[in-house]
Symmetry: C2
Subunit: 464 residues, 2 copies
Amino acid sequence: MSEKRKIYKPKAISGFPEWLPEWRAVEQRWLDHIRATFESYGFCSIETPSVEEIDVLLAKGEVDKEIYVLERLHKEDDDSKDARLALHFDQTVPLARYVAQHFNDLTFPFKRYQMQRVWRGERPQMGRMREFTQCDIDVINVDHLPIHFDAEIPAMIYDTLDGLDIGRIQHRISNRKILIGMLNALGVSNDKDIVSITRTIDKIEKEKQTELITTLISILKSALDINADEAHKQAEFILEFAKIKAIPKDFSGLLRDFIARNDVIARSVSDAAIQTINEGIEELSFVLDYLSYLPDHAVAGDLSIVRGLDYYTGTVYETQLLDVPEFTGSVCSGGRYDDLAGSFINKHLPGVGISIGFSRLFDVLKQTGHLKPAAKGPADILMALPSEEKRSEAAATARTLRERGFKVEMYHAPQKIGKQLSYAEKKGIPFVWFPPFEDGKAHEIKDMNEGTQEQADPADWSKP
Amino acid sequence: MSEKRKIYKPKAISGFPEWLPEWRAVEQRWLDHIRATFESYGFCSIETPSVEEIDVLLAKGEVDKEIYVLERLHKEDDDSKDARLALHFDQTVPLARYVAQHFNDLTFPFKRYQMQRVWRGERPQMGRMREFTQCDIDVINVDHLPIHFDAEIPAMIYDTLDGLDIGRIQHRISNRKILIGMLNALGVSNDKDIVSITRTIDKIEKEKQTELITTLISILKSALDINADEAHKQAEFILEFAKIKAIPKDFSGLLRDFIARNDVIARSVSDAAIQTINEGIEELSFVLDYLSYLPDHAVAGDLSIVRGLDYYTGTVYETQLLDVPEFTGSVCSGGRYDDLAGSFINKHLPGVGISIGFSRLFDVLKQTGHLKPAAKGPADILMALPSEEKRSEAAATARTLRERGFKVEMYHAPQKIGKQLSYAEKKGIPFVWFPPFEDGKAHEIKDMNEGTQEQADPADWSKP
């Protein structure tokens, strides 16, 4: 370069990860495995645009996610006439919009998976990801969605995560009807109070018991107009209740026992509340029974799982990695919801779904040394180039091997063989193929790991 | 739903395509095939963030693409301290930034493919896509990039497009050194004049000959300070030259003959100009020879291919579909460039690459009836559910078949068999599996296309 140019030295943008090829290959292998598992259950793929109209994103009201709005760099005055567009912050709002928009063209129950990037306009200094991939599965039906799907979703996720070789996983499963019925039984029936109590329970592993009790007392006092003593007793009961965990087989009985022997709610319970609790217990039992073929560690009933969102109405899931202590919190989570797309269509569309936070999972496992990088390129074989005269024969041999299923990289110039071998080594290509150096001689193949070399005929080779 | 809610009826956003599941499956099959072909040549995958800093996107100066800038919906005052981010409008600037940023961690020649969405902030009423997928391959090397890669790239693209079953394709290939040397020989040496002439030639199939001649005369008159007669003669010569096409085998000889018998440049040609022309002819001959194993229709030397950008310095490609008249223009294009990342790193990084405009290709072929949709779901087998009691046996059979390679969707409720069969039919699932309706009876499988049904043992079945 004769000319001296101004150089803008690029650096990583905080919150927008990118990988070197040897890690990208591992990421792609993971994504392929996840996709294959989702499809092995008959779920179809959809992708939606990266953007939605802001009115769509905010159709349910203000959202607590930070949203990135798009603006054209060279705005024109009449741009303001067009709908404002923003990057989607999850795949649930786009799914709702998609199902409403294409309602007449879909087959229900609609079982779809979706693996796309989503964006959150977090401040960069927070160290959170601002662009990441989520892998979602949901089943949507019209009017009524059988409980079967609540059980099938964690079964799918077990197969999905089990195949990633990241140690044991555990689904912690509850059903919000049990908690809601219980709160109704206590006399709490206002949605706002129920949400406040659920959000408090959601912090059960993060905050101190005494702080949780204090919060609950304050909610209960104002919700039920009771004195501090009674509120304290009920708050303790709620927390004790939320700590119920058991291995699947005993869970339903254990829960019924607990309810029977607690006098806090024994007094004046409405039939509706009892029915809600029973429905919740039945649904949860169905799900836990269905999953009983899995190893013992894989599934736990756990009433502390409530999910913060008021969106969920029944089964709720969180999934943890048991052998990766560096990964805190839930690797995927979700649950049953009563109404997917009420903002967009006049249909009752219940659903159940779960979302794997793919990028954080991959990033944490990579950073903590749980993953090994792949080779720097995908080739199985490097086709050596003995001389310029042999180029077309080498290229033809490479084509034959490709037709037989191998990934074959061609060396580009007739350089010294030592240089070609060291290129294969550097890129981690396991075999080097030598076309005949002279007419009439045989092809040879070198195994780079074993160091052995033998005669070979491209017509005899095919990938297992 | 008891409550009457306000419904926001969603509609498609112009320029942001999305597909129904049966088309998304075809799109995914295409993308898988493209990826597999790229990898079969040993190219590695990279993905970059969807955004770059605006300073990176504009490092080479203003771009003629419309750029989408991101703004947080709830801006804060100190947002302005952060670098402004914008969605990438192609994959070349991100590649340049990536190679510069990770220079020390990459193996050269760096052969990468990249298949991502890109965004252009076009006005919606223009009917252009504002979000679309590009499939790019590039090879980058330090200081010197062997001509081998200029030939390998169209070979890869041939395999890629040939496998999509979209009829015959044709690579039209030229080398800009031939045109530049020729213009130098005519006395045109100013970069700006060369670019103007190249852009005029680039319109050879869109504009009338007389208009092109007029434009060329005006450029030549001012570039060379010659009279209208002379300029006219040269303009005609340039156009005649640019119209040279031939089947690969004759091309080089034909071109040399043409140069020899034209007196317009015979007078006072510099050695440097001749050398540039010869280099171009040699490089083009190498590429055409390398591709001579392809069918005759697949490759054409064609001097009218110049690419509008001044970015390209040698080989240039455009690829056309010969059997899809509805698809106008080039399905992919690219070429050799001298300096990928001079704006970001003080290294000389020549490269060669090509980009498939995936979304437009898919969209046009879909719209014009050249493609058939896939089934509405990926399942090979629907597992029927004879009764609630048989659910766990049905689920276990589904698991066995999945382990044996099948995609198995489970029917969710013990409804009438007729209903279950019609679900399979509606979703296009080719087989329905019946677990034993009573203990001791055999499994059966129904072929939905043939209408036949026979006894089956899950342990005997595995996917071919």
